[in-house]
């Protein structure tokens, strides 16, 4: 087990290295630069600024310098946000996104798993059909639509919830709903199909023959066996939601990492693009390792080698 984890971490470092290298060169291949949009810059001033950030050196030298700093945990200084290091920006913004995303994942699991299980147990009945229709709709409707509609009705019309920022607990309600709608519906559908599979298994009949009540057999036998696909999905889901959603953060004016991640690209804030991308990659790798370890605990048939 320990050997497996060490191996996975080493592989993860290699993956992160490849991601960093590819991002660095692709980013520099894109035409334009951080100082082009600023008006009335004399060639001398531009050259001076490029020299300040080391952008005048050959690309390969820039790469070596960056990777050298990265090894020391230094991801450089943001070009656009003067005076902030990339480490600061990630350190400040990530907790905001992580809290919101974590809540959304929690909501998605707590609602999606029971919903999917109920649908499976009521297969073919009205309740099952209702759940299928709603979960399909929830997957199809984009989050910017649900957020705008929620904002219009709940904040503007009914004045029930605050529309912007993250000042109090009430501010979390709409962004969390908007973020969790898709994963909730997706988990419900995953759970329904895997539950249907488990219900038909012989060991469910064995449990019945032992005299296990229906209720108990659902929790003890069915749920434990049916949850695996949801756990698989949880790894990438946690990674993508906790690193922030650009759309949701933009709509609700939330100072999260997702916003930085996207807005760094058009402004060619090279160090910030690198920093957020590498951070995101590392986070996904970490989550996948955690999911694999969780597998071994949930399913004894899975051996980590």
């Amino acid at each position: 087990m320990l050997k497996y984890i060490i191996k996975r971490i080493l592989m993860g470092i290699l993956t992160a290295f490849i991601v960093a290298t590819l991002t660095f060169f692709i980013m520099n291949l894109v035409p334009g630069g951080p100082f082009l949009s600023e008006k009335a810059v004399t060639p001398q001033a531009q050259a001076a600024m490029e020299a300040k950030y080391g952008l005048d050196k050959p690309l390969f030298m820039q790469y070596l310098t960056y990777m050298g700093d990265l090894l020391h945990g230094d991801m450089g200084v943001s070009i656009k946000k003067r005076g902030f290091t990339v480490n600061d920006i990630i350190g400040n913004k990530f907790p905001v996104s992580a809290r919101l995303g974590g809540l959304a994942v929690l909501v998605a699991v707590c609602i999606g798993v029971p919903l999917g299980s109920i649908a499976a147990f009521k297969r073919g009945k009205t309740l099952d059909n209702i759940i299928i229709v709603f979960s399909t709709a929830g997957i199809a409707i984009p989050s910017f639509l649900t957020s705008t509609l929620m904002m219009y009705f709940l904040s503007v019309k009914l004045k029930l919830l605050p529309s912007l920022g993250l000042d109090g607990p009430a501010n979390y309600i709409m962004p969390v709903i908007a973020l969790s709608l898709y994963p909730t519906c997706y988990i419900a559908r995953l759970m329904r199909s895997s539950m249907l599979d488990v219900i038909g298994q012989d060991y469910m009949r064995t449990a019945r023959a032992k005299g296990v009540s229906t209720f108990k057999s659902i929790f003890k036998h069915a749920l434990r066996n049916a949850i695996l696909p949801v756990v698989t999905y949880l790894g990438p889901l946690l990674a993508s939601l906790m690193t922030g959603s650009f759309i949701i953060e933009k709509i609700f004016t939330i100072p999260g990492l997702g916003h930085e991640f996207v807005s760094a690209i058009p402004s060619r804030d090279y160090p910030l693009i690198m920093g957020t991308t590498i951070f995101f990659a590392c986070f996904i790798i970490m989550m996948n390792v955690l999911v694999d370890i969780a597998y071994a605990f949930i399913d004894p048939r899975i051996r980590l080698k």
């Binding site: 060991y203 064995t206 032992k210 005299g211 296990v212 066996n225 949930i298 399913d299």
Partner: protein, 338 residues
């Protein structure tokens, strides 16, 4: 108290066919009884309703109609609408399933699979007693104490079936439905497991309903045998009587299909090879269920369902031409009884 443990009358188990009004008549009007301490064998080809009969008796699936009585008490009666609470009977009536791979929860250790039954019926007062009983049960079926902490996937098919048997024995049952318990196993292991069933029966005074499609296995273990075809019981008699004096043409063909070890005898014996396939249980033939494949079928067979009658003491048969069938070669004489 009579010596009849289980009495089944007019058992019917119909399943709806998705998307149509038709039903699959998996078990259609089956009646028989099982005496205390005996082994009742149930044979027939795949899909004839043997397994469904076994499961309906334990009400793992709710029967469509009929009456099931256990030790004088009614478990299910469609006429009076009585449906007994099964929990106390789950202690007395157990089942060993056919597939030892799928019937054990892969997330539970063998100890817990066996122990769960003990927990539900509150058979152990403390953890020590629970552990001791589990180990005792595992040893009883030829496993050992180390096996308790392992998971089902770590066992071979034969060992898994032993776990399935230990699980069924955990509650000290009186009656066990053995639903093709050996058909998924290698022939060499089959013998071991069948012998274990016999040993357990002797030691624990068990009553079995032994379901199989292999007539030689059933013949070996059973006191009486019932033959099923397309949801109907077509013949029922004591084992010897059934093997040597079978009357129903279907039973005859089954017996003739049993492989014979001695090539000389095998060459001399005639096999009765049935033509065609088993009809669909959704639209069974009018009249006798076997009429589409029976060599003696005539008008009456295709129009009228034969009654399940007693032809000699304890020997029942449902056939219009009981006399005709007895003219053909008696295959039972050549059956090498294993």
């Amino acid at each position: 108290m009579s010596d009849i443990l289980l009495d089944i009358k007019g058992l019917k188990q119909y399943f709806p066919v998705a998307g149509s009004k038709n039903v699959v008549k998996a078990v259609d009007d089956v009646s028989f009884y099982i005496k205390k301490g005996e082994t009742f064998g149930l044979v027939g080809e795949s899909g004839c309703g043997k397994t469904t009969t076994g499961r309906s008796i334990l009400r793992l699936i709710e029967p469509t109609a009929g009456k099931i009585s256990y030790d004088g008490e009614v478990l299910f009666d469609s006429e009076s609408g009585k449906k007994a609470d099964m929990l106390p009977y789950r202690r007395k009536m157990q089942i060993v399933f056919q597939d030892p791979y799928a019937s054990l929860d892969p997330r539970m250790t063998v100890g817990d699979i066996v122990g769960e039954a003990l927990d539900i019926h509150n058979l152990c007062s403390d953890k020590k007693e629970r552990y001791d009983r589990i180990i005792g049960l595992l040893k009883r079926v030829g496993l050992n104490s180390e096996h308790a902490n392992r998971y089902p996937h770590e066992f071979s098919g034969g060992q898994r079936q032993r776990v399935g048997i230990a699980r069924a024995l955990a509650v000290d049952p009186e009656f066990i439905v053995c639903d093709e318990p050996v058909s998924a196993l290698d022939v060499s292991i089959q013998a071991q497991v069948v012998n274990m069933f016999e040993e357990l029966q002797r030691d624990l005074k068990l009553t079995y309903l032994f379901i199989a499609h292999d007539l030689s296995v059933v013949n070996h273990i059973s006191d009486r045998i019932g033959v099923m075809y397309l949801g109907h019981m077509v013949e029922l008699a004591e084992s010897e009587e059934l093997i040597f004096h079978s009357v129903h043409p279907y039973t005859r063909s089954l017996i003739s299909a049993v492989p014979i070890a001695d090539p000389k005898v095998a060459r001399a014996s005639k096999r009765i090879i049935l033509q065609g396939d088993v009809p669909s249980p959704v639209s069974p033939p009018k009249g006798c269920a076997f009429c589409t494949r029976c060599p003696f079928a005539d008008e009456i067979c295709t129009s009228e369902q034969p009654a399940f009658e007693e032809i000699s003491s304890g020997h029942f048969c449902a056939c219009h031409h009981k006399d005709l069938a007895s003219n053909i070669d008696k295959p039972g004489k050549k059956l090498v009884i294993v």
